[in-house]
C-alpha cells in the first residue's frame, strides 16, 4: 500500500471536466441553433449532459471528502479560497449588469423621452412585492445563520429545521418573483428599461434557484450525518453563496426597484 508524504489531495483521473466542457459547448451552440433554426435538440442534449456532469462530479467530491478523508485542513483551505474566488467572479458578473442599468438610467436618451423611468413605462411599486421579497431574503439570512450555529453546536434537529426554513423562504421568493414577472405591466422587449430590469433580476432569480438547490443538497447531507460540528465546509460554502445572493438582491432593490422608479 502506498503512502503520500504530504497532506494534499492528488485527485484521481475523472471524465467530468470533459463532459462539462462538452455540455457547455452543446448548450451555447444549441442556443444559437434554437434562435436561428428553431430546433431545441442540441440545447436539450447539452442541458442533460450538464445536469449529469454536476450530479456526478459533486457526488465524487462528497465521496472523496466525507467518506475517504481526503479533505485535510490544507485541502479545505484551498476549497475555501476557491469558493471565495468563484463568488468574487460572480460579483463581477453582476457588476456588468448594474453598469448597464446605470449607464442607461443616469443619462436617459431622447428616444426614451429624456427621463427615467422612460415615457410609457409603469414601474412596480417598490413597497409591495419587492419589499416582501427583501424581507424574505433577509429572514433567510437569519435562518441560515441559525442553521450554521446549530451544526457547530451539534444540534441536529435544529439544524434540520432551520435549514428547511431557509430553503422554504428561498422557494417563496422564487414564487413571488414569478408572480411579479407575470403581473408586470412591461416586458423584456420594452426598450432598455425592460432589458436591464429582466436581465438583472432574471440572472438574480437564477442564482436564487441555484442557491436554494445548494442548500437543499446540504439539507440531505445533514440528514445523512455527513457534517460534523468541526467540519462542514459544504454547508459553509452554501451559506456564503446564499448571503451573496441576498446582497445582490439588496443592490437590485435599492437601484432598480427603488431609485429607478
Amino acid at each position: 500500500m502506498t503512502h503520500q508524504a504530504h497532506a494534499y489531495h492528488m485527485v484521481d483521473p475523472s471524465p467530468w471536466p470533459l463532459t462539462g466542457a462538452v455540455a457547455a459547448l452543446l448548450m451555447t451552440s444549441g442556443l444559437a441553433v434554437w434562435f436561428h433554426f428553431h430546433s431545441t435538440t442540441l440545447m436539450a442534449l447539452g442541458t442533460v449532459l450538464l445536469l449529469l456532469t454536476m450530479y456526478q462530479w459533486w457526488r465524487d467530491i462528497i465521496r472523496e471528502g466525507t467518506f475517504q478523508g481526503h479533505h485535510t485542513p490544507p485541502v479545505q483551505k484551498g476549497l475555501r479560497y476557491g469558493m471565495i474566488l468563484f463568488i468574487t467572479s460572480e460579483v463581477f458578473f453582476f457588476l456588468g449588469f448594474f453598469w448597464a442599468f446605470y449607464h442607461a438610467s443616469l443619462a436617459p436618451t431622447p428616444e426614451l423621452g429624456g427621463c427615467w423611468p422612460p415615457t410609457g413605462i409603469t414601474t412596480l411599486d417598490p413597497f409591495e412585492v419587492p419589499l416582501l421579497n427583501t424581507a424574505v431574503l433577509l429572514a433567510s439570512g437569519v435562518t441560515v445563520t441559525w442553521a450554521h450555529h446549530s451544526i457547530m453546536e451539534g444540534e441536529r434537529k435544529q439544524a434540520i429545521h432551520s435549514l428547511t426554513l431557509t430553503i422554504l423562504l428561498g422557494f417563496y421568493f422564487t414564487f413571488l418573483q414569478g408572480l411579479e414577472y407575470y403581473d408586470a405591466p412591461f416586458t423584456i422587449a420594452d426598450g432598455v428599461y425592460g432589458s436591464t430590469f429582466f436581465v438583472a433580476t432574471g440572472f438574480h432569480g437564477l442564482h436564487v434557484i441555484i442557491g436554494s438547490t445548494f442548500l437543499a443538497v446540504c439539507l440531505l447531507r445533514q440528514i445523512r450525518y455527513h457534517f460534523t460540528s468541526e467540519h462542514h465546509f459544504g454547508f459553509e460554502a452554501a451559506a456564503w453563496y446564499w448571503h451573496f445572493v441576498d446582497v445582490v438582491w439588496l443592490f437590485l432593490y435599492i437601484s432598480i426597484y427603488w431609485w429607478g422608479s
Binding site: 434562435f35 471565495i84 409591495e128 424574505v136 429572514a139 441559525w146 457547530m152 407575470y182 408586470a184 420594452d190
Partner: protein
C-alpha cells in the same frame, strides 16, 4: 464582502491550534456557546414577523387597487420586435399577460 473575508480568515486560522467560534456582530451576547439559541430567537421574533408584516402590507394594498390596465400609446421605443421571440408566434414575451402587456398593435382580444 468584507464580512465574508473576515469570517473566512478566522476559519482558516482555526485549523491551527484552538478552535474559536467567531460570532457575527448581532450575536454579541458574549462567548455564547448557545449562539444557535440567539439566532433561533432572532428568526422567530424578528425575521419571520418581519416577513408577516410585509405580507399583511401587501394584502392591504392589493385590496385598494385592482389591476388598472395602462393606457396604450404606440410609442416606438417600447414593444421592440427587431427579432421575433423563438417561441409561439414570436410576438409574445415569455411572461406575457394579456391584460397588462400590449402587443405592438395594442391590447389583444378582450380588454377589461
Amino acid at each position: 464582502m468584507a464580512a465574508l473575508g473576515k469570517l473566512s480568515q478566522a476559519l482558516l486560522r482555526s485549523s491551527f491550534g484552538q478552535t474559536r467560534r467567531q460570532l457575527s456582530a448581532a450575536a454579541s451576547a458574549g462567548h455564547a456557546e448557545n449562539a444557535s439559541r440567539t439566532w433561533k430567537i432572532l428568526s422567530f421574533v424578528v425575521a419571520l414577523p418581519g416577513v408577516a408584516v410585509c405580507m399583511l402590507n401587501m394584502y392591504l394594498k392589493m385590496q385598494e387597487h385592482h389591476h388598472e390596465q395602462p393606457e396604450f400609446i404606440p410609442y416606438s421605443h417600447l414593444r421592440i420586435r427587431t427579432k421575433r421571440f423563438p417561441w409561439g408566434d414570436g410576438n409574445h414575451s415569455l411572461f406575457h399577460n394579456d391584460h397588462l402587456n400590449a402587443l405592438p398593435g395594442g391590447y389583444e382580444g378582450h380588454d377589461e
